[in-house]
Symmetry: C2
Subunit: 244 residues, 2 copies
């Protein structure tokens, strides 16, 4: 269990994927942190409509945000990876407009909602970072909306795979030209507004074309260039991100 790790020894911070913080800020973050929470694979971190908002940072594992319609159809809004803030919207408004579900077993740092205010007051930098993180997720959803609205099945799946690969690799999760890929085809379908059947068929077409390989929960992209061309996706290299 990594439950008792202190923020000063946080392994996430050591990955160089995140921007450095001062000693005082680190100390504040430690005091801001209430506890570590474990959520089992497939369980809810936050349920839709939950009233009391808790703010988390995803520490380990994979999760996603989603919304459900009353006919049961579910839209995955975006996938969450270590370092991502969870529950910011709930903390600000009242009532959670969306749910969060763990894909794998997940560890989260839960924060003292009461001290959120202190964060802005005592550490403007961290307040700024908070906005930064919100804007970053914002950008991810924009990209998803573009996919779902304007790309066809192959294109949007290509996009999803590239984006996942980039984000996971940035966190240092890459091994032998592959990254962990814990999602089922149903997850992909729900994220892109496709049916499971069509997702399956499209994935195997991409596989035959030599554009993707998913095996034993690992994703590799044998021809990233062709994939980016298919998805019509050209983004800048990823920058360091704040971590709270």
């Amino acid at each position: 269990m990594a439950v008792d790790i202190k923020c000063a020894q946080c392994p996430l911070r050591k990955t160089k994927a995140f921007s450095p913080v001062s000693a005082e800020e680190l100390e504040f973050i430690q005091s801001f942190k209430k506890k570590t929470v474990r959520v089992a694979e497939g369980e809810l971190v936050i349920s839709e409509g939950a009233s009391a908002g808790t703010l988390f940072t995803l520490f380990e594992g994979f999760a996603f945000r989603f919304k459900t319609l009353s006919n049961g159809r579910r839209q995955i809004l975006n996938f969450l990876m270590p370092g991502d803030l969870v529950g910011l919207q709930e903390s600000l408004s009242s009532g959670s407009p969306h749910g969060v579900e763990a894909v794998t077993e997940v560890l989260l740092c839960a924060f003292n909602h009461d001290k959120l205010w202190d964060l802005y007051r005592a550490h403007p930098n961290l307040g700024y970072d908070m906005t930064w993180l919100a804007a970053q997720e914002h950008g991810l959803i924009d990209e998803n909306l573009l996919s779902v609205g304007q790309r066809n099945a192959s294109e949007s799946i290509a996009m999803l795979l590239i984006q996942h690969y980039r984000r996971a690799e940035r966190l240092g999760l890459g091994r032998d030209n592959s990254v962990p890929f814990p999602y089922t085809q149903q997850h992909i379908a729900d994220a892109l507004g496709l049916s499971l059947v069509h997702t399956s068929k499209t994935l195997s077409r991409l596989k035959k074309m030599g554009l993707q390989m998913i095996k034993q929960g690992q994703l590799s992209l044998p021809n990233p260039y062709a994939l980016t061309k298919l998805a019509d996706y050209y983004d800048l290299p990823m920058k360091v991100t704040p971590l709270i």
Copy 2:
């Protein structure tokens, strides 16, 4: 021209739609404001890929954020109304990941990018508000993504109309059970990932069903209850929002 209006006399603030600020905060906001910018109908406020980010608040008129694929297909990410922050993402990252276009003639309050930092440092409340506003737009896009991914044409158009009506009414723009609706069918189509033709056919079906009336740039919803049922949309009443 409303160009010279002082923040203290800001007519937007008088609408009761926004949360009150202290005298010092108001003073800061005034000093934060660089100038008023006018953008003509159909012109760009921010172009895709623009490098230098300017932060605005939309003061008057209607606009939208969008992304374009190289094949020319365009996705409208969300519509912007008075009080909305424009360009936050650009201000934080470098390079604009999306464009912003004016639907009607538009007036914006342009801010001193240099003082953004001061805002967080000197006025934590406003920093908090900044995050709040980012999270609020976030919620809007979530809802759009749900529409585009999981709702069919009638449902997502219903959703769009309800949402527009609610937002416009909240700003005090309602008259005789109708609100301004400056969008063309092409805008609706681009926002929902539909073709113009299908949008037209679906809109006239909704009209025949007595669910919507758009005439001379005004939208009225004769049967809001049926429309919310169609869209499967049940939201809480809108709360006061920060205004910067």
